[in-house]
Symmetry: C4
């Protein structure tokens, strides 16, 4: 599809480690800034700098890949929707870790997981990271609100878990407008990803039972059932 | 299936723009009437007139298509179930926008979305519009009720989001009979549409992972995994 | 599978109308007995008699069919699981109406619904009847309990709707042990049936979109997309 | 895959009854210890001893099978993920009963359940046992907490039912950190298993309706519809 795939591949490979490090730094910087708000101002500024620096790395990488692709900006955005979303909402950045982990695994020729297991692993990891990032963001906006029920980061994590699984006890809920907007986003993503997890798990379970049927006859005709 | 398809097609094409405009006017008129209830009486009457006028356009279009089809009223209703529901509950009208958007896109021969993406786009848009219209209708009936927890339109939207995703915190819930009837309708539709979104997303994700498998071997046999 | 199918079929056909009438009488008798508890004792006794009489008809029909089948009681129970459940919990009886409706429709050779539509219709009707019967049963046990939040039959219906769709606001919940046991049964059935509804709806939507693709090209090759 | 399958099979067969007994003793011991906390100290110690003894049997069986497999510990863990989880969290132990029940049934050549029925039976039983064990564990950690809403074991069971079906009324919810951690684990497992139940039920219902179509024509061409 692209005219210059070789250069792109070289760039992708060279950026793997820097991007992974930047992703971890971004999440760590944001986490510290939100959770340790009683900390010294110097450290908070450092966290902010680390977070923004990591974001800068993401933007630079995106622009270089845009240039290497030889496509116009609009067409590049259209064919890299997820990359663009992740650029704008870097809290979702760690999702890229899955991709990098897979690339490393492929190069070492290790046995890869089955299709359903990969869908489940990918969806579960996405849900977990989404939940963590969403809990952070909601906690940041709720903790100072009057009448808030989300008062500790533990409450925020508990709220994220019951939201993403659609259990929704309602013992802790966001009350601010921004908190509720983040919550709606989490519900939308969460519902879709939970659907992917349950769909894959269901298919995997049926597949497993089918295989057991085929393996079962000790000296008979395999697959006869 | 129909004897006079040419005339019908011409009618459909001619009505596209008027119907789209009427749909927008209906929703806008209803929205303003519900939300701006402290407004001058003249403007409220104007909104009501716009809303009813748009409804009249829908009824006229329905009757013309009934006449062009050459079918009896009962058979026409049976073969146009969605059109009839939308005629009676015009708050669901904007759903037709999807159809119109597709017709325009088809005529321009643009590349269309894949099957799953279209199901997801259609279902998500329907859910969003259903949520907005339901929030409006519930807000209209709840805001004056004693003991109501849905007191602002923001509350109503928040309630619609947690209802359609079946999260259901219960921090805001309808207390009037009409509000609860609308809520039951939203739950029924919402559950079905959310099922369609998650089902399509799950299938799409599995398809995507399968394709990645096929693309993956750099110099090997494609599709061997 | 059975040795005497002809006699059985004749019995099934002869019992159609009596069973349908008995089902309606059972539900009506139970409903009146629960809802009109301030009524004259004579009428309440009549309702009880009607309810028990209808139950007697069900038992008699079950025993006759057991005899006609030529199977032992245990094997008959094993091959008629649903019939046995419905005999023990006659509140689920009206479900059989679907079967009878289908038998009548088949004999008249009317065009039947498609597969997915029938699954959806069957599941939705079952959910609706299950919800109504469950709301009745829960209301009967909750209305006198101290600290109950389900105080009117409207509350019970509202509770049934939010339970079966797994929304679960929690504004009204059963507090008695029997009420909670009925609720757990409703959750278990409800979750399975809602899964059937959403699964069928999702499949139907995908099928509809696929057909539209095939119909679409005006003068081109059908099915090419 | 393994070099010494014969010895392993003999071991598996010999351990069936001891493992089943140990599983029951473990669950019984734990249940009594949690529920009968006002009992004499001697009996509580006995329960603890029974529980730990049963756990010892599980560990011994795991080690013997590790030895018989001829694999290294890491590879054995990787190919026996479920066995390892069950070793660490023996509250999930009774799940193995399904396996044993199937092995017994297979040896006696009884007609086995269909694929979907087995998936449903397995998932439902797992959900029920998971709910019971989770309710026990949560009750143990919540009953002494200040501000707890889960005060009786009945409350804990009710909470487990509304959590696993994702209804989540929120009338009773865990408030301690450990209770919430168990709850998150239950949500994750519950959502996946409920997905398997609904997926299988939906597939089974569609299959049943399809078969009815094929059986229906009394003297016509089967499968023609």
């Amino acid at each position: 599809m692209d005219a210059r795939p070789e250069k792109q591949e070289r760039w992708d490979r060279r950026m793997e480690t820097p991007l992974a490090v930047a992703s971890l730094l971004f999440l760590a910087g944001y986490t510290v800034r939100v959770l340790a708000h009683g900390m010294d101002q110097v450290w908070l500024d450092l966290c902010l700098a680390v977070t923004l620096g990591a974001w800068g790395v993401f933007i630079a990488d995106y622009l270089v890949r845009l240039g290497l692709s030889g496509l116009g900006p609009l067409r590049f955005v259209r064919s890299h929707v997820l990359d663009t979303i992740v650029l704008v909402l870097p809290l979702l950045r760690p999702l890229q870790m899955v991709k990098i982990y897979e690339q490393i695994q492929r190069r070492h020729d290790k046995p890869r997981l089955t299709l359903y297991a990969r869908v489940m692993a990918y969806s579960s990891l996405t849900v977990a990271l989404l939940g963590f990032a969403g809990a952070l963001a909601v906690y940041q906006h709720e903790r100072g609100a009057s009448g808030a029920t989300i008062r500790t980061f533990g409450d925020a994590l508990w709220w994220a878990a019951e939201t993403l699984t659609t259990v929704g006890y309602g013992d802790v809920t966001p009350v601010t407008t921004i908190g509720r907007l983040i919550a709606v986003g989490m519900m939308a993503c969460g519902v879709a990803l939970i659907g992917a997890v349950t769909g894959s798990f269901s298919s995997w379970l049926i597949q497993t039972f089918t295989r057991e049927d085929e393996k079962r006859p000790p000296g008979g005709t395999p697959g006869a059932s």
